[in-house]
């Protein structure tokens, strides 16, 4: 393995992280938005969201990636591989995040909403000040878990021509006829990235005043 190979692996890692982060930034809030629509039982809309979630949960990432890559031009939308990749990952993770948020919403104590209502708080205020701080706390572990799953599923987007870590490792192995070193390094890179995610979660969950929340 040359230093050029090493650089291409690191570039692949950067692509993996960048695309996953983009999907997370889109998917976490959007998943929450969808979850609220279902939780508030908005007619029709909740049916659409539920169908979306079921369909995406049943679709492999590779298939979804190819579908988006080829389907979008067919309806007149020209997209590059990067856009297609981000869309694929975001559409996928949004569905799972939606389910995580929805579980959190359904578990949210009705008592607290009663008192917010009784004291004349508006719904946006109740959501922002009463629900979200507690929901973020309870949903965080599951959300980070989904982030790591997304990250590890991301090699699927190589099908649209993205060179991520895994793809870079495959290429190096094919050129050098020594696949072991690049794959070992790729594995280490994934582990390092996931480690950072989990550390970030621990940091967010650090002992704080919120620790006393459990009643």
């Amino acid at each position: 393995m040359t230093s050029a190979d090493l650089i291409s692996l690191l570039q692949g890692a950067a692509v993996t992280v960048a695309l996953s982060l983009a999907a997370i930034v889109i998917g976490v809030p959007l998943g929450l938005g969808f979850a609220i629509l279902v939780w508030r039982r908005i007619p029709l809309v909740q049916l659409i969201v539920k169908t979306y979630v079921s369909l995406i949960r049943a679709t492999p990432l590779v298939t979804l990636g190819l579908l988006i890559y080829f389907a979008l031009p067919a309806v007149g939308l020209q997209t590059g591989p990067v856009t297609a990749a981000i869309l694929t990952l975001a559409i996928n993770t949004t569905a799972f995040n939606c389910e995580i948020w929805r579980a959190g919403l359904m578990d949210f104590p009705k008592d607290q909403l009663d008192s917010a209502q009784a004291f004349g708080m508006s719904w946006p205020h109740t959501f922002r000040r009463i629900m979200l701080p507690q929901l973020a706390r309870t949903c965080l572990p599951a959300l980070v878990n989904e982030m790591t799953l997304l990250l590890k599923g991301s090699p699927a987007i190589a099908v649209v021509g993205i060179v991520d870590v895994t793809r870079a490792a495959v290429r190096i192995g094919a050129n050098t006829y020594e696949p072991l070193p690049p794959f070992l390094l790729a594995t280490a890179l994934y582990a390092a990235i996931v480690f950072v995610f989990v550390r970030a979660q621990r940091w967010l969950e650090r002992p704080s005043k919120l620790d006393e929340v459990r009643v």
Binding site: A116, A118, F119, G120, S122, H125, R129, K209, E212
Partner: protein, 264 residues
Amino acid sequence: MTDAADGDGDGPATLRVLGLTKTFGDNIVLDGVSLSVNKGKTVCLLGPSGSGKSTLLRCVNWLERPDQGAIFLGPTRVGFRNAGSRIPMTARELAQVRARMGMVFQHFNLWPHLTVLENIIEAPMHVLRRPRDKAVHTAETLLKRVGLIEKRNDFPSRLSGGQKQRVGIARALAMEPEVLLFDEPTSALDPETVGEVIAVMRTLSTEGRTMLVVTHEMQFARETADEIVFIDRGRIVEKSAPQLFFACPHTERARQFLQRYSVR
């Protein structure tokens, strides 16, 4: 509809409930309930479990939507734009009316991620738009009154049931409500902490707060209430002064109810 129909006190009625009906499916929970609470008076709602007392209270501030009947807070028809109309209030209008009533819940319903002080100032600051320092000042005064000033920065999970409920009362008082609604405020408490909550409620009553109290604390009702309203199966069975109600209830139903309580 005139006030005289239900104005059985001398002062002006702060809260009037007229012909309230509420059903859950086939179950008639409230069946034409009318009562009024005059300014500065304490009315205790008594009745067996499942008689509709809590539902009545929750209908008053529209946490439950009644099927029929009307609720007036002062001159304001709760839930509808004006007395005669069927135009429902907007969410904002409803919030404004609710902010004029203070509610104390059986299970306290404090917000666990906020400190005691934050629990009390949240609604005054964001609903009544009080400046923070003023809201804090009011909250601290109230915490002193309920004897919990040293707990101001604690989270609810650190408090005992009785302390939580006293915070709940302080939170309701911070809204400077026209009427206080108590929904079985001592039913979730350990027997030894019931007293501290009752003591606070007693003080509020004697200083002339307008209170509608659902309770199973017979002694509190007997000694503090200006009027007892006895409900059974969604109907008002008896309405009288506490001395009368506890000494010689008119109805067989109330007699049975009281017997069960005095046996305990």
